[in-house]
């Protein structure tokens, strides 16, 4: 081809006047192609023309034929109803690290997917419990990827399943991968990507159990004073002096929430004080199970203080499960009973400010505690004392001095110390460009 171009240029330069520019062009071409064109200048012009045509014409014809053929009949294609090539590399496995009931199917794209002729527009997955028959389509996925993955979550554990995957075109032509299997689904007892969770759980549990054992053996474990909790006795005493009741709200969530559990634990201590001072206690609740738990707690406190006669179940009142209905009901109780002291201990949502503002308006001493970060600002603003987050969980240990709770709190402090150490070491490593600690802490 290049030789033909050189010959054509030479032909033109001979036919017409040989200018300086043409001579320069020829020299460049000689250098490039390594051909001594000067020798050809002596050829007869008609010979040159015939040679040029003889070389160029077949080349042009061949190029045109190829272009035309590839336009009308794409390379490698067949008619539109021809089946595409099938998907390859079909692999089945029980989905790892799950509770069973799922099989993972993976495959590679057909050679006629988007990177090939592009005729495959979907894949269908079929499942059967028999290798020869009974296949039912369970899913169709669109084409366009190199690898595909589908989780069949409609299988039973310990049952054998067979699968087929077909590549399909828009004209319903398809090709089959063939039957693959069998495979069975089963649950896993341990998530193999969560070793870090196990290690953290073992460290925290070990430190908690160690400190509980130490506390039970009588070792004096120090807990720093918490301002809001030191005020509990004083606040109950104030209600006694004023001859008005104490109102205790253990949040609006159910007993499966740790904040409610902590709230009910603190209620036990407050109930002992009200029993001791013979002060009236009101506990409105928004969940039936919390009502039962709170009744048990208050009853036990009154019995422990030798004031069983002073206890009556109506101290704990169910209002309603509805969030704002509960807020309206508690507001009404506050306005009519005018408690001297109000406790908000547990999980609260948008009703927190409504309750705290009403308590403030009746001049009650208010002690709040919650781990709901969005509600803490309202309690900090409207209440006299606020237990912030972790302090709510520490309150039970601080108030009761129960060795189990105190030991548990100390064990959690060890975990916090470890967290600080991890953060300091981790930041140094990250700054130095090492990421292994960050990767180790990643939870999948």
């Amino acid at each position: 081809m290049l030789d033909s171009i050189l010959e054509a240029v030479t032909f033109v330069s001979v036919r017409y006047k040989d200018t300086k520019e043409q001579r320069l062009l020829r020299r460049e071409l000689h250098v490039i192609f390594g051909i001594c064109a000067r020798q050809r200048l002596g050829f007869n012009l008609s010979v040159i023309r015939i040679r040029a045509l003889r070389v160029l014409l077949p080349v042009v014809v061949v190029v045109l034929v190829i272009l035309g053929a590839t336009t009308v009949f794409p390379v490698g294609s067949s008619s539109s109803n021809a089946p595409p090539r099938p998907p390859i590399g079909i692999a089945l496995q029980d989905r790892p690290n799950d509770a069973g009931g799922a099989i993972e199917i993976t495959w590679e794209a057909s050679k006629d997917d988007s990177r090939g002729r592009g005729t495959v527009n979907s894949y269908s997955i079929y499942r059967s419990e028999q290798p020869q028959s009974g296949f039912v389509k369970i899913k169709t996925v669109s084409s366009g990827k190199e690898e595909y993955r589908y989780n069949d979550e409609e299988v039973e554990n310990d049952k054998r399943y067979y699968y087929r995957v077909t590549a399909e075109t828009s004209s319903d032509a398809f090709s089959d991968s063939g039957v693959v299997g069998p495979v069975t689904a089963s649950p896993q007892w341990f998530h193999s990507d969560r070793w870090n969770m196990l290690i953290a759980l073992l460290i925290v549990s070990a430190s908690v159990l160690t400190f509980i054992t130490l506390a039970r053996k009588g070792k004096d474990l120090y807990i720093r004073p918490i301002a809001g909790l030191q005020a509990v006795d004083e606040a109950v005493g104030r209600a006694t002096e004023m001859g008005r009741p104490v109102l205790y709200v253990p949040g609006i969530l159910d007993m499966d929430d740790v904040q409610t559990i902590a709230g009910v634990a603190i209620l036990g201590r407050v109930a002992r004080k009200t029993a001791e001072y013979e002060t009236s206690l009101l506990v409105p609740v928004s969940r039936s199970v919390v009502m039962s738990a709170a009744q048990e707690t208050v009853k036990e406190a009154y019995w422990d203080m030798g004031k069983a006669d002073a206890y009556h179940p109506d101290m704990v009142r169910y209002i309603t499960d509805d969030q704002f209905g509960f807020a309206a009901g508690v507001d009404g109780i506050m306005l009519r009973e005018k408690p001297a002291t109000v406790f908000f201990q547990g999980a609260f949502y948008a009703e927190s400010l409504i309750l705290a503002e009403t308590g403030h308006s009746i001049g009650a001493v208010q002690i709040a505690g919650t781990a709901m970060t969005s509600q803490l600002p309202f309690f900090v603003t409207a209440c006299d004392y606020t237990l912030i987050g972790e302090e709510l969980f520490a309150a039970g240990a601080y108030l009761t001095e129960d060795p189990r709770l105190v030991g548990s709190l100390k064990g959690q402090d060890v975990a916090k110390g470890l967290a600080i150490a991890f953060i300091v070491i981790g930041i140094i490593l990250e700054t130095a460009g090492y990421h292994w600690l960050t990767n180790f802490l990643k939870v999948n």
């Binding site: 738990a293 520490a394 110390g417």
Partner: protein, 207 residues
């Protein structure tokens, strides 16, 4: 008067009854409060039956999934509170609920409140190739998290160096609360706007 119009008038009057609490406790507020509490308690009773008890318990028992007899028995134990002689049985159900709830939550808390929080704090303080404010932000995260953790350390009194670091932690907490306060107040204002729009548009048609 159509039913829809009646509903609008009823909702508007009850809204005004609730708003009257802003003046002081009064019979209108008491009426709305008692109606609200009573209706919502009844509503949640029905809701819990049709969305919790029936699909989770009754339907499974009807399908002969006999393992669901255990929650049925525990539910019956809860009702034993009505009979004083066997009322102690309800403690079993409460203990089961508290124990299983705490046990299940420990993994969630350990993941989201411990490991994930530590991991998110591990940021590089290397200023090479980074704008100064990104490095400053990373440094503030580091100082805020560590000082906040020291504040919630209950084994040591807040005196000396520990007290100083804890005070820095309190400053970070208060800044966080301030930002959260402003954000939440904005959300509450939007609730008020919604109610005022109902009164002025749906009820009175003024806007």
């Amino acid at each position: 008067m159509s039913l829809e119009l009646f509903g609008t008038w009823l909702a508007a009057l009850l809204t005004l009854c609730i708003f009257s609490f802003l003046y002081k406790d009064n019979p209108f507020y008491k009426f709305a409060e008692h109606l609200f509490v009573g209706v919502s308690a009844g509503y949640w009773l029905c809701y819990n039956y049709w969305n919790m008890v029936k699909p989770n318990l009754i339907d499974n028992l009807e399908a002969h999934n006999w393992e669901y007899l255990l929650p049925l028995i525990l539910s019956a134990f809860m009702l034993m509170r009505l009979i004083p002689k066997v009322g102690w049985l309800s403690r079993w159900a409460i203990a089961f609920m508290i124990g299983s709830g705490a046990g299940l939550m420990i993994i969630t808390y350990l993941q989201s409140n411990f490991l994930e929080q530590i991991k998110s704090t591990l940021v590089s303080l290397d200023p090479t190739g980074l704008p100064w404010y990104v490095v400053l932000n990373s440094f503030l995260i580091f100082v805020g998290v560590v000082s906040g953790l020291v504040y919630f350390f209950f084994s040591k009194a807040h005196t000396g160096v520990t007290g100083g670091v804890a005070r820095v932690g309190v400053v970070f907490l208060m800044v966080c609360f301030g930002a959260s306060f402003g954000y939440t107040v904005m959300a509450r204002i939007s609730l008020l706007i919604g109610r005022m729009y109902f009164l002025l548009h749906d009820w009175l048609g003024l806007v």
